[in-house]
C-alpha cells in the first residue's frame, strides 16, 4: 500500500493531539455521576440478585475506548490517502489517445465494429481491461479540442470505461500535434509510460509530430479503416441578394472523392423549428431534388433561386444512387444545413422639399418602404420645427434632406433612433460644423461599411459644411478642411451626417448615390453586409449578435446550452464542434434573438483517400498492456471485493472514512452510556 495524502510526519502531531482529546472525552464519558438515594439497601438487594458483573462493564468500557482509538486510526489512514500497493515490477502508465475527429465516423470495413471510432473505443476498452492493479491509465479525447477526459492517471477500470462511453465523434478535424504534446507531458517522469494512439491516420506532418514523442515512452499506433473514396457536400448555404433582400439564392457544392464517376441524389428539404439536426426517420418537405453526376475527383456547384420555401431552415442531403453497390463510408459529410437570414423592409421617412435625385435613389430599391414628406407637412412639425423625436419613434429611419437649404429647424432634443442628415445647417448639425467653399476630398475611409464599393475621392462639391470632433473610426469621407461625411453610433442613436448638398455636388450624376444609400441603410439597420457567412465546425466563431446585448445564451444542436456568453464588440465567441442549428437567446427572457446554421465542411477530413500517416515511436517495452491478457484469476479477493463497493477501489481513504462513520453510528446506537455524558 502506498500513501498519496499527507505524510505520517505531517499528521503525527495532530494525531497525538486528537488522541489526547479523545482520551479526555473518553474519561469524561465513563466518569460516574453521583446520585443520592434514600436507601441503598434496596439497590444492594437488587444487585445481589442480578447477574451484574463488574468485569463485563470494564470490558465494555475498554471496547468503547478501543473503538475511539480505531476511529482515530481510520481517520489517520484516510488522511494518508492509501492506495493499493504498487507492484514495482509492472508499474505501467498508459496514455490512450482516442481520435474523435469527423473522419473517425467513417466505415471501418470490419464487421465487429461498424465505424472507425467504435473500433477505437473497443480497443481502448480492451487496453483498460488488460490493466493490472498496479497500472494506471489516462484517456485523451482528441478532436478540434484535446483534453484528458478521464482526469489524472487512475487504475479504476469502471471509471475509465465510463469515460470511454462519454467520448463521441465531433464534427471537427483532429489536432494531432496537441494530442501528442499533451501525451508527452503526461508521460514525463512516469514509470513505464506507454502511449496508445487510436486513429484512422488522417493527419499531416507525421514526421514533425514524431519528433515530439517522448524518448522514454513506448508508443503504439493503431489505425482503423482503409483509404477509400468519399462523396461529400463541400458547401451549402443560402443568402439574400444585396440589391434585393427579399430574394435569396441557395448555394450547393458536392465533391466526388471516389476514383470513379458517381451519380448522386441531392435533396434540399425544409426543416421544422423542432429539429435542430436532420432526422432521416421523419418526413420533410422537399424543396429541391436533383440528380447529380460527378466525375472522379470533381466538384459540382449548383445555385438555386426563387425557391418556394415552407421554412427558413433547410437541410441538404447527398446519396449515391449509381453505382448502386458503392457505399459512402462517411455519412457525416452528406448532410448540411442552411438558414435564410431574417429580413423585414425598413420603414423610411424622407423629409425633402422634392429632391428627385434622392427620391430616385431610394425608390430604386424595392426593399424599402419609403414615405416622402414635405418640410411643411404639419404632421412632422413640432413647436419649434421638425420633431425628430416623434419621427424616429414612428419610423425605422428618418432622412432629413436640406439639399435646397429650406428645411425648417430640426428639434433634436432626446431623440432616439436612426437618421441621415443631408447638408444640415450649422445650428442643426449633429456635429459641430463650419461652412467652406469647394472642399477638396483628402481621404475616404474604405473600411467603413457606408463607403463600401464607392469611389468618392474625385467628388466635386461647390459648398459644404465640414464637421469637427469626429473620431477616425466614424469618419467616412474627409476634405482637407475637415470631415465631410461621418457616422455616429451610440446606445440610442445611429446616424450618418453628409456635410454637403446633394445638388451642389456631382454625386447626383454618379451610380454611387443609390449605393451610398443602400450601404447607409444596411449599416443603420445592422444588416449583415457580408455577402455570405458560414459557420464551419472545428473553429471558434465570432457570431455577430444584433442589438445591444451584453450576454447571450446559445442552445447547441444537441440541446445543450452555453449560458451567458459575453458579447464583445457586437460578437460572441463560440467553439463549434457539431453541425446543425444554433439558437441564440436573451439570458433573461429566453427570447430567441436569432438562429444560425453550422456545417461540417472540412475537405481535408472528408478526403479518406490518403494513406494513413504513421508516427514513429522510439522504444518498445517487452510487455505492454496490449501484450497482456484480460486478468480475471489473478485479481486478489480484496480487489474483487472492493470493486463491488460503491466507492472506487482507488480511493481507499473514502472507504476508511465510511468505516469510521459506520462505527461511530453503531457505537452511538448501541452504547447506552451515550445518554449519560
Amino acid at each position: 500500500m502506498i500513501f498519496n495524502g499527507y505524510t505520517p510526519e505531517a499528521i503525527l502531531p495532530y494525531l497525538i493531539g486528537l488522541a489526547v482529546i479523545i482520551a479526555i472525552l473518553y474519561l469524561l464519558k465513563v466518569r460516574r455521576r453521583a446520585v443520592a438515594v434514600p436507601y441503598i439497601g434496596l439497590w444492594r438487594e437488587v444487585l445481589e440478585k442480578s447477574s451484574h458483573r463488574r468485569w463485563h462493564d470494564w470490558i465494555k468500557r475498554f471496547i468503547s475506548y478501543l473503538i475511539c482509538i480505531l476511529i482515530i486510526g481510520l481517520i489517520a489512514l484516510a488522511l494518508l490517502d492509501p492506495r493499493q500497493e504498487e507492484d514495482n515490477t509492472a508499474h505501467r502508465h498508459a496514455i490512450i489517445i482516442v481520435d474523435a475527429s469527423a473522419s473517425m465516423a467513417a466505415d471501418s470495413g470490419r464487421e465487429e465494429c461498424p465505424s472507425r471510432f467504435s473500433c477505437a473505443i473497443k480497443d481502448a476498452r480492451e487496453l483498460v481491461d488488460h490493466m493490472r492493479p498496479t497500472d494506471r491509465a489516462v484517456i485523451i479525447e482528441a478532436s478540434g479540442i484535446v483534453s484528458a477526459v478521464s482526469g489524472p492517471f487512475q487504475s479504476d477500470k469502471a471509471a475509465l470505461d465510463k469515460t470511454l462511453s462519454t467520448i463521441a465523434v465531433r464534427s471537427t478535424s483532429m489536432d494531432m500535434h496537441k494530442a501528442i504534446e499533451l501525451a508527452s507531458h503526461l508521460a514525463q517522469d512516469r514509470e513505464n509510460p506507454e502511449i496508445y494512439l487510436l486513429t484512422d491516420g488522417q493527419f499531416d506532418n507525421a514526421d514533425e509530430i514524431s519528433k515530439i514523442l517522448p524518448r522514454t515512452a513506448a508508443f503504439e499506433q493503431r489505425n482503423y479503416g482503409t483509404p477509400s473514396g468519399n462523396l461529400s457536400i463541400e458547401a451549402f448555404n443560402v443568402r439574400r441578394y444585396i440589391a434585393n433582400r427579399l430574394g435569396f439564392e441557395v448555394f450547393f457544392k458536392a465533391h466526388n472523392g471516389f476514383e470513379q464517376p458517381v451519380t448522386a441524389r441531392m435533396k434540399i428539404m425544409a426543416l421544422p423549428d423542432s429539429e435542430s439536426t436532420f432526422d432521416p426517420e421523419k418526413d420533410h418537405d422537399i424543396i429541391v431534388e436533383k440528380t447529380l453526376t460527378l466525375a472522379s475527383g470533381s466538384s459540382e456547384l449548383r445555385l438555386y433561386d426563387n425557391l418556394t420555401l415552407s421554412s427558413s431552415r433547410m437541410a441538404a442531403t447527398l446519396e449515391i444512387i449509381d453505382p448502386s453497390d458503392l457505399v459512402d463510408p462517411m455519412p457525416i459529410d452528406n448532410i448540411a444545413y442552411a438558414r435564410i437570414p431574417d429580413y423585414a423592409k425598413p420603414d423610411i421617412a424622407c423629409i425633402t422639399p422634392g429632391n428627385l435625385y434622392l427620391e430616385a435613389a431610394l425608390l430604386l430599391n424595392e426593399n424599402y418602404r419609403v414615405s416622402f414628406m414635405k418640410p411643411t407637412d404639419p404632421d412632422i412639425l413640432g413647436d419649434g420645427g421638425i420633431d425628430l423625436k416623434k419621427l424616429s419613434a414612428n419610423h425605422d429611419i428618418v432622412i432629413l434632406d436640406n439639399s435646397y437649404r429650406n428645411l425648417p429647424h430640426v428639434q433634436k432634443e432626446d431623440w432616439e433612433g436612426r437618421a441621415i442628415f443631408i447638408n444640415p445647417e450649422v445650428e442643426d448639425s449633429p456635429f459641430k460644423a463650419k461652412t467652406v467653399e469647394s472642399p477638396i476630398i483628402e481621404r475616404v475611409n474604405a473600411k467603413h461599411p457606408v463607403a463600401r464599393w464607392l469611389s468618392l475621392k474625385n467628388l466635386n462639391i461647390s459648398k459644404a459644411n465640414v464637421f469637427s470632433g469626429v473620431p477616425n473610426s466614424d469618419l467616412v469621407m474627409r476634405a482637407i478642411e475637415g470631415p465631410l461625411m461621418a457616422t455616429r453610433k451610440t446606445n440610442s442613436q445611429r446616424f450618418l451626417a453628409i456635410g454637403f448638398s446633394l445638388v451642389e455636388s456631382d454625386l447626383i450624376f454618379r451610380v454611387g448615390l443609390p449605393v451610398l444609400f443602400i450601404n447607409t441603410i444596411d449599416w443603420l439597420m445592422d444588416e449583415n453586409a457580408e455577402p455570405l457567412r458560414g459557420y464551419p465546425t472545428g473553429n471558434a466563431w465570432h457570431v455577430r449578435i444584433p442589438g445591444d446585448l451584453a450576454h447571450v445564451d446559445v442552445i447547441r444542436p444537441d440541446g445543450s446550452k452555453l449560458q451567458s456568453l459575453p458579447v464583445y464588440d457586437g460578437s460572441a465567441s463560440i467553439y463549434g464542434e457539431m453541425s446543425g442549428f444554433y439558437r441564440v437567446q436573451r439570458p433573461e427572457t429566453k427570447d430567441e434573438v436569432f438562429e444560425f446554421a453550422a456545417n461540417f465542411s472540412n475537405m481535408a477530413e472528408s478526403d479518406l483517400s490518403q494513406t494513413p500517416s504513421m508516427l514513429q515511436g522510439r522504444i518498445h517495452l517487452k510487455t505492454t498492456l496490449s501484450d497482456l491478457e484480460t486478468e480475471d484469476e489473478e485479481t486478489s479477493w480484496i480487489i474483487r471485493l472492493l470493486s463491488k463497493l460503491p466507492v472506487s477501489s482507488q480511493y481507499l481513504w473514502v472507504l476508511a472514512l465510511l468505516i469510521a462513520m459506520g462505527m461511530l453510528t453503531v457505537e452511538w446506537l448501541t452504547y447506552h452510556r451515550r445518554w449519560t455524558v
Binding site: 446520585v35 436507601y39 434496596l42 437488587v46 452510556r673 445518554w675 449519560t676
Partner: protein, 291 residues
C-alpha cells in the same frame, strides 16, 4: 415561604368539615369507653368483689334478689393521638419532599384531633426520639404544633425499635399511634410495629414514598449515595436493572401492607405527588381515627 401558610390553614379547615360529614355517616367507628363504678350514665351491673366501694352496691337489687351487685357507669374517655414522625436522613431525600409531606399530613390530622377535643402529641425520631410535643388539646394549640413541626429536620439514621420503646415508656396512656415514615431501615420495621401493637396502641402506618423511588429516572454509569449512611455503590443503571429495582420496591411495599393487615394495623401508602388532603380523607374513611 412557610410550610403552613394560609392556604394550608384553609385546607385543614376544609378537612375538618369533611371529617364531620364522614363521622356522622355509616362509616363512623365506635370508640370504647371505660365502664367504672362512678359516673353519670348507668351502664351495667357486675358481681361484688371484695374491695369494691360499698357505695356502688345496688341495694334495691339486693332487696329483691339477695345478690350483691355493683352498679357500673359509663365514663367518657379522652382520646390520645400520637404522631410518630420519621426525621431520618432518608426523609430528607429530594429536598425534604417526604418530610414536608409528613409534616403537612401530621398537622392536618392533628388539627382535626384538636377540634374533637382529643389530646394530640407529636414525637420526632430517627435513631432515637429527638423531639417531642407534649399532649395538647384545644383548637388554639394548632400554631404550637406548627412551630414544633417546622423546626424538624431530616438527618441521622433510622431505628424504629429504639425510638418506639422510648416513646412507649414515656407515654403510659394508650391511644392512637400514627407512624409516618418511609420505613427504610436496615433492621426492619416489623419488631418496632409489633412492639406498638403489644403495647396496645392502635397503630396507623402511613408509608410515604417519593416518585423517584417508584420510578428512578437515572441511566448510565452512576455512583449511588445513601442519604442516611453515606454509603456508595457503583453500578450501571440499565433499563433491566431499573425494572428489577421497581419490582423489589413493589415487593417491599406489598410485604409491609400484608404485615400490617395481619396485625389489624391500618396501612396507607402514598407518593408525595398525591395531595396530602387526599390521604388524610382516606385515613378518615378507614375509620377509627376519631371518636
Amino acid at each position: 415561604m412557610s410550610l403552613f401558610d394560609e392556604a394550608f390553614l384553609k385546607k385543614i379547615e376544609y378537612l375538618y368539615v369533611m371529617s364531620k360529614k364522614v363521622f356522622t355517616g355509616k362509616l363512623r367507628a365506635e370508640r370504647k369507653t371505660r365502664k367504672v363504678a362512678s359516673g353519670i350514665e348507668f351502664a351495667d351491673h357486675r358481681n361484688y368483689a371484695p374491695g369494691d366501694d360499698f357505695r356502688a352496691l345496688d341495694w334495691r337489687v339486693y332487696g329483691r334478689t339477695e345478690k350483691l351487685l355493683v352498679r357500673l357507669f359509663e365514663e367518657k374517655e379522652d382520646l390520645s393521638i400520637y404522631f410518630l414522625i420519621d426525621c431520618s436522613g432518608s426523609m430528607h431525600f429530594n429536598d425534604d419532599a417526604k418530610l414536608n409531606y409528613a409534616k403537612k399530613m401530621a398537622a392536618a390530622l392533628g388539627y382535626i384531633g384538636l377540634c374533637n377535643q382529643d389530646h394530640v402529641s407529636y414525637i420526632a425520631f430517627n435513631g432515637k426520639v429527638i423531639e417531642r410535643l407534649a399532649p395538647t388539646s384545644g383548637r388554639g394549640q394548632i400554631f404550637k404544633i406548627f412551630q414544633f413541626l417546622e423546626k424538624l429536620k431530616g438527618e441521622g439514621q433510622t431505628s424504629f425499635e429504639d425510638s418506639f420503646k422510648t416513646f412507649a415508656s414515656e407515654n403510659r396512656r394508650r391511644g392512637v399511634a400514627v407512624v409516618i415514615s418511609d420505613f427504610y431501615n436496615p433492621e426492619g420495621y416489623e419488631k418496632a410495629l409489633n412492639f406498638l401493637h403489644y403495647q396496645q396502641f392502635e397503630t396507623y402506618v402511613v408509608h410515604i414514598a417519593d416518585e423517584s423511588e417508584f420510578d428512578p429516572k437515572v441511566h448510565g454509569d452512576v455512583t449511588l449515595i445513601d442519604d442516611e449512611t453515606g454509603e456508595r455503590v457503583d453500578l450501571t443503571m440499565t433499563p433491566r436493572l431499573v425494572a428489577k429495582y421497581q419490582k423489589a420496591f413493589e415487593t417491599l411495599c406489598l410485604k409491609m401492607e400484608a404485615y400490617c393487615v395481619a396485625r389489624h394495623m391500618l396501612y396507607f401508602r402514598t407518593p408525595v405527588s398525591t395531595p396530602f388532603d387526599e390521604i388524610v380523607l382516606k385515613v378518615f374513611r378507614a375509620g377509627g381515627f376519631l371518636k
